[in-house]
């Protein structure tokens, strides 16, 4: 048994309803850590990359890291790893909240979900005791109703993950939700759970976790805590204003995608900013387990047609449901966010898909008859309405539930899909942040900001400022960020710590917790190993160099106005350099030498 790990995983065959406990392999743990890394290794071995993601042949792994459930800073996380139904690539979605730590206290690092049940099921895990129950009466409930029902029946000490109607109805961007508002959001991991007919997992654990070197671990945690408290972003900004503190910063940099990336600045950004959220709707911040940052927002829309209470919105959400659809009504944006939480779906893809449909509508490709209503940019009521319709696959929502790549393709305008590998890009227009362009193009799960957050150096100046409008040095920095993030997602810690700490601090916590002799270099190498393994999965799934690209708009339509006026993304240059620095061939395939060096 390795320190800091629970030491076991739970393998569940939903088809036969067999559950068995297995030991975590220490050698694999050393090479892939846990979380995203170890789950990717296991998925690669168990699932043929060409399987239909929504078939019983796909596997869904919920995986904590060794630091999950300890006092490691922001170490309350788990990952949902599977083949994604939105992208056809590997999917690995990170989630905070309370579920991950509780799973470990119950005795398990991971839950491996195989096959598919013939009727809806609920899984209850209580200190090593695991039961599968019929859940027909839960099927159809939204996430909030499900949580309330289960907390009433099982007790409030149980921590929950569940899917809503979106997951049940296989919306391609359905999420798995914990604590009513924390999502393993992207790529459709919730639809995979729905395809397996698993409505929810309830877990209660009263056990504990030991670390290898308690005084050393304590010192490493305190060192990281001090740096997080001293950091401008982690110490004050995120707690006071949430992630939406970025709205004004990104808008001023001219890279706040507006109306399906037609523009880079939103004239009403201030109205949906973190500052306005704090002023108008914030009830109080809420943290995930072990997080001193507390970016989470408990909010309440106190009047008007959208009066309600819930979690969010965070930055990407106010962008997707606001600027990208041209909506400036914070109440509507917030309400649309609550609907996504309740129905269980990714706010980024949901909003961006409506934005794409709005452009199709304004271009005359979609008619009022197609949609069942007008769908113009800026129509707040339409955005809220479409969220409900998508999550329930009602009317035109059934079309949008496939995501904007398929919608744009269906109506003959594939170039209006603003994403990569069928997944929508989030809230940064790479025409004015070049490194983000190569990051989007190479991300192993398609359009995504949390594989390598190039905004940190290019806009925020962390760890040091890079000129956002040059391709120079971007491939190199992007690779380092991608590797760092892959390792970080494997230890169970939140990406936001990297605003203030890096590989040395993370490796110090990991080493003292597990007793494995990690240093910063090995930590980064594990990240590189994971990145390459994900790439191999995607290649076997059929993806090629042509998938490592950006929408035509970003490559050939210059930014119309603002600080990035006149710019397009010089992707080819960065991509060629990226492949070379990765040790991959010209087609973007890892070379034998690289794979051998990484032990793959």
């Amino acid at each position: 048994m390795i320190s800091a790990y629970a030491g076991k995983l739970l393998r569940v065959d939903l088809t036969s309803r067999q559950v068995r406990s297995e030991s975590i392999d220490p050698d694999a743990a050393r090479r892939f850590i846990g979380g995203r890394g170890l789950a990717t290794k296991m998925l690669s071995e168990a699932v043929h990359p060409q399987v239909d993601p929504l078939s019983p042949a796909n596997t869904l792994i919920l995986a904590t890291g060794p630091l999950t459930g300890t006092s490691a800073m922001c170490g309350g996380r788990f990952m949902a790893v599977t083949k994604g139904p939105l992208t056809g690539t590997i999917a690995s979605s990170n989630c905070g909240g309370t579920f991950g730590p509780e799973l470990k206290y119950a005795g398990y690092d991971m839950v491996v979900l195989e096959g598919a049940a013939s009727e809806p099921l609920l899984m209850v895990i209580e200190d090593g005791k695991v039961e599968l129950h019929p859940a027909g009466e839960l099927w159809g409930l939204n996430v909030h109703e499900t949580e309330d029902r289960l907390h009433g029946e099982l007790g409030r000490d149980f921590q929950l993950v569940s899917i809503g109607p979106a997951g049940e109805k296989l919306v391609r961007f359905a999420a798995i939700i914990n604590d009513k508002g924390r999502a393993a959001g992207r790529s459709g991991v919730g639809a995979v759970m729905g395809s397996k007919k698993l409505k929810a997992i309830a877990v209660r654990g009263t056990g504990g976790l030991s670390v290898a070197d308690p005084p050393g671990f304590r010192a490493a945690c305190l060192d990281s805590l001090a740096k997080l408290e001293a950091g401008e972003i982690t110490g004050q900004g995120l707690q006071s204003f949430g992630t939406a503190i970025l709205v004004n910063i990104i808008n001023e940099s001219g890279v706040f995608p507006t109306r399906n990336f037609r523009q880079g600045q939103f004239e009403s950004a201030e109205k949906i900013s973190g500052e306005t959220i704090a002023e108008e709707i914030l009830v109080r911040p809420r943290a995930c387990v072990a997080c001193p940052i507390a970016c989470g927002r408990v909010t309440e829309v106190r009047g008007g047609p959208y009066r309600s209470r819930g979690d969010g919105p965070e930055y990407e959400t106010v962008w997707a449901l606001g600027a990208d659809t041209g909506v400036e009504d914070l109440g509507a944006v917030t309400k649309a966010n609550y609907v996504c939480n309740e129905l269980g779906m990714d706010t980024i893809t949901a909003g961006a898909t409506v934005a794409c449909a709005m452009e199709l509508f304004e271009e005359g490709v979609l008619s009022e008859k197609d949609v069942g209503r007008k769908l113009k940019f800026g129509d707040a009521e339409a955005v809220v309405d479409m969220m409900t319709k998508i999550g329930n696959r009602e009317g035109f929502g059934d079309v949008l539930a496939e995501g904007s790549a398929r919608v744009a393709e269906r109506y003959g305008r594939p170039e209006l899909f603003m994403g990569v590998k069928k997944q929508e890009m989030p809230a940064y227009d790479p025409r004015g942040v070049f490194g983000m362009g190569v990051q989007y193009a190479t991300s192993n799960r398609g359009g995504c900001h949390v594989r390598g957050y190039m905004i940190a150096p290019e806009i925020l100046g962390v760890p040091q400022k890079l000129d956002a409008h040059t391709p120079q040095g971007k491939a190199e920095t992007n690779i380092a960020f991608q590797n760092l993030t892959a390792a970080l997602d494997s230890i169970g810690v939140c990406l936001f710590v990297t605003f203030s700490i890096g590989a040395p601090e993370l490796a110090a916590m990991l080493k003292t917790a597990t007793g494995f002799d990690y240093d910063a270099d090995e930590f980064m190498q594990v990240g590189e190993r994971i990145w390459n393994l994900e790439k191999l999965f995607n290649m076997k799934a059929g993806l090629t160099r042509k998938d490592d690209t950006l929408p035509r708009r970003l490559l050939s339509e210059p930014m119309p106005a603002g600080p990035a006026k006149g710019l397009t993304v010089p992707l080819d240059e960065m991509l060629t350099q990226y492949y070379r620095l990765r040790g991959w061939d010209e087609q973007g395939a890892p070379t034998q030498e690289k794979l051998a060096a990484l032990g793959l």
């Binding site: 459930g69 206290y105 504990g208 911040p285 809420r286 387990v289 072990a290 997080c291 001193p292």
Partner: protein, 158 residues
């Protein structure tokens, strides 16, 4: 006068680092179910209350313990458990009006102020739990806090 734990619930964010490090200090492992401090979370009402022992001057737990297993530390003013004397009768648990002493696995568990350097305070980033002179905690705020602890305890028993 010895310092005491001073609680400002409105600063709590529910990160529960206090529970994690408290359990590590007391049990040697990260095991929040055995933590001496526990954070009450009512997500719907957005009410979060770090529940800690306030080391009552006239501590009912100490008065009612039949084996004299609870004693006052003269330096920190904390009421501490003498493990060898505790016979797991749980009388202290029912005597405590605030629900902050629990008998589990054969031992009464309560806050001992970590001997004067409380670990929860070290890790509380927002100052929801501080270690300060009693005079720094306004009487009204303190009473609001203890009243809430008492009502939460009564709700739990009901």
């Amino acid at each position: 006068m010895a310092n005491m734990l001073l609680i400002e619930p409105e600063k709590c964010t529910t990160c529960r680092l206090c529970e994690l490090v408290c359990s590590e200090r007391g049990e040697g492992i990260f095991r929040p179910s055995r933590s001496r401090v526990r954070v009450w979370i009512d997500a719907e009402a957005a009410e979060y209350v770090p529940m800690v022992c306030i080391q009552c001057d006239d501590a009912p737990c100490m008065e009612e313990c039949p084996t004299e297993a609870l004693v006052r530390d003269p330096v920190t003013n904390a009421v501490v458990v003498v493990a060898e004397k505790c016979d797991e009768c749980a009388i202290c648990e029912s005597a405590c009006p605030y629900g902050v002493i629990r008998c589990l696995d054969g031992l009464a568990r309560k806050c001992d102020l970590c001997g004067g350097d409380p670990e929860c305070v070290r890790f509380c980033a927002t100052g929801a739990i501080q270690y300060a002179e009693p005079g720094r905690w306004p009487r009204a705020a303190r009473e609001t806090y203890t009243d809430r602890l008492r009502s939460l305890c009564e709700e739990a028993q009901a």
